[in-house]
């Protein structure tokens, strides 16, 4: 329609005004995108992290989350055997965690994980050999990059000591040979991590037949919620949760970010609506006389409203395009701030790029912009033609 061609050119008629409006809405769009990414990012990132190694359930001591406290699951072998009797369970990987001191000038703390080398989902080997093929006998250790940054390398020998054991130091320490370097999936930023065999760690910490956590792998087709329900009734003294349930609990702990995302996302939409609504209202007010004249010569209300809606749509589209790019840039900066959050796995991302969220941000801004323009447009359409002409003509 010819009248629609008018809309696009009208924006170019006032380049500064249009440019500033686009910029303002772009910043609001960037904020909206970031808040949408933040709102869903943590959950999807956490879920992705938990399912990386392919274990669908986590088992911890009653009333705790994995590694939340020093509590352990006792009678490990009995529990493990009992669980593995279920057809739906493919494997049960025990993990024992303990803070040990690395002997050396400053005695840094290392979070050591005792695992079953045949079945583990705690780390991904990057160099050297895994504990599975312990070429150097029983006391092999796999370390992370935080420890290699201290100058440790494959083949080095290190001494680890159990905590609070100054009274009986000799019996609660162990010498290990570094066999591999790995990425520890659940380590937090700055945390030093290492892995040894479960039996070895249990010996050092005097925790035989105990585990801090069990990672359960389900058979294909098994429903995690069903298995959780069955295990809960079979093992009432344990905290059993599926990945989905863990994600929900983690989300509750970090609910502040979701609430902030909702509030700031809403504010962004309000700013968009206000800005475009104000621009269009003033722009339409400027053209009241022309609008009345066009209606007088027979141009329909529908055509004129469509023209203003298109003007606003073009404004919003331009703003959304810039805003989405800006939002991705800002998200990177905000991610770098939040990555220092203590206690969270370093692999967690607060801002996760998802095409759905990008689309939603763009759609939100465009819809808000078009709706905002409709109010002054419809008001202008309802103004009586004759009295408007009378007022506008000298």
């Amino acid at each position: 329609m010819l009248i629609l061609r008018y809309s696009a050119r009208e924006l170019l008629r006032h380049p500064i005004r249009s440019g500033l409006a686009i910029l303002g809405v772009a910043v609001a769009c960037a904020m909206l995108l970031d808040m949408l990414m933040l709102g869903g990012g943590l959950n999807s990132s956490f879920e992705s992290l938990l399912t990386t190694a392919g274990y669908e359930l986590r088992v911890a001591p009653a009333g705790t989350l994995p590694f939340d406290t020093g509590a352990t699951i006792s009678d490990l072998q009995t529990v493990r055997t009992g669980m593995q009797r279920l057809d739906e369970i493919d494997g049960v990987a025990p993990v024992l965690g303990a803070n040990l001191l690395l002997e050396g000038p400053d005695r840094p703390r290392v979070f050591v994980l005792g695992v079953d080398p045949a079945d583990q989902g705690i780390y991904r080997l990057e160099a050297g050999e895994d504990l599975r093929s312990e070429a150097r006998g029983e006391r092999g250790i796999v370390i992370d990059r935080e420890l290699t940054d201290r100058g440790l390398a494959i083949g080095d020998t290190i001494m680890l000591q159990a905590p609070g054991s100054f009274a009986d130091a000799r019996s609660r320490r162990g010498e290990f040979t570094i066999v591999g370097i790995a990425d520890f999936l659940y380590s937090s930023v700055g945390e030093r991590s290492a892995a040894v065999s479960l039996g070895t760690l249990a010996e050092i910490t005097d925790q035989p037949d105990e585990a801090s956590l069990l990672m359960v792998r389900l058979a294909e087709g098994a429903d995690p919620e069903d298995v959780v329900a069955r295990l809960r009734s079979d093992f009432p003294g344990l905290e059993i949760a599926s990945v989905g349930q863990l994600v929900e609990r983690a989300a509750q702990r970090l609910s502040y970010f979701r609430q902030l995302a909702v509030i700031l996302g809403t504010v962004s939409l309000i700013v968009t609506t206000l800005l475009i609504g104000t621009i269009m209202a003033i722009s339409i007010n400027d053209r009241y006389g022309t609008i009345a004249a066009l209606r007088a010569i027979g141009i329909s209300r529908r055509s004129l409203v469509a023209a203003f809606a298109l003007e606003s749509l073009l404004l919003s589209l331009a703003a959304a395009t810039i805003g989405l790019a800006l939002g991705l840039l800002v998200a990177g900066q905000l991610e770098s701030i939040l990555s220092d959050f203590p206690g969270l796995p370093a692999a967690i991302r607060f801002f996760v790029l998802d095409p759905g969220r990008v689309g939603l941000a763009a759609a939100g801004v465009i819809a808000a912009g078009v709706l905002a323009a409709l109010v002054p447009a419809i008001r202008a359409m309802n103004a009586p033609i004759a009295s408007t002409l009378h007022r506008e003509e000298p």
Binding site: L23, D340, P342
Partner: protein, 287 residues
Amino acid sequence: MTGLLLVLSAGSFIAPLASVEGVWTQDTHPLPCRVATSILVERSLAADIGLSPGDSVDVGSDPAGPGCRVMIAGVYEPDADPSELARERPRILMHLPEVAAMAGREDEVDRFSIRLRDPAGADDVARDLVALMPGTRVLRADVVAARASTTFEVVRRFHRAIGIITITAGGVFLACIMTLKVQERRSQVAALRLVGVSRKTLLSWLILEAALVSVFGGILGIGIGSLASRLINGFYQRAYQTTLEFSIVTTETVWIGLVLAVSLGLIAGAVGAVRLLQVDALAEVGR
């Protein structure tokens, strides 16, 4: 606080059933199931499960085990500690020896605090203690406080980044509105100039108008912010059952807000005014 040292074991683990802290009194005998003993429960736990002073409950470290019958001596309000906000498990207070016996950790503690006669010597004392107790970490209290505040430092930086983005959006919004106002008032200002009002007078009127709008807008903004702050505190204090203040409107934040509002408003107003006065009055009126 700098005079206090916190002595930590390399791992701080807490008993599984409830987070229990103990207070050492030398003449209490650690035989919880044989001697009538009393505990304190925190207010939120008491409210949740309907406990009052004088009630008896069972406390134990094994969910399947019998536990010990104890009496609730009182209900206490924990300190409003931000680092405790996300704590899921409720707390009770017991005598230290009873906790140790119940958890099977006799003669053990997770940490203890030391008050020094001479706070200035804290670093030296810490070094000496580490040498004496190789399985422990000895930290100055201010270092522990700083580490515990990491979360809030991250959140503070995040808030500041969001604040910068918001101010940028607001600044662009303001510039846009000022541009529109310039266009709206061209003929008015042109007519005034033609009837003899000087540029200087017009400039001062326009800037005064911008100043008044900025001041009133800033005050209104402070009012809205204060109200929002109260709503935030009310909501989160109820949600987390705490007396902690999540949002505080300080004199400093009020001044920063007002100065920003007035500065941005004056700059935008001045730029708009200068542009308005550059318009060719005759051409504008004769259009």
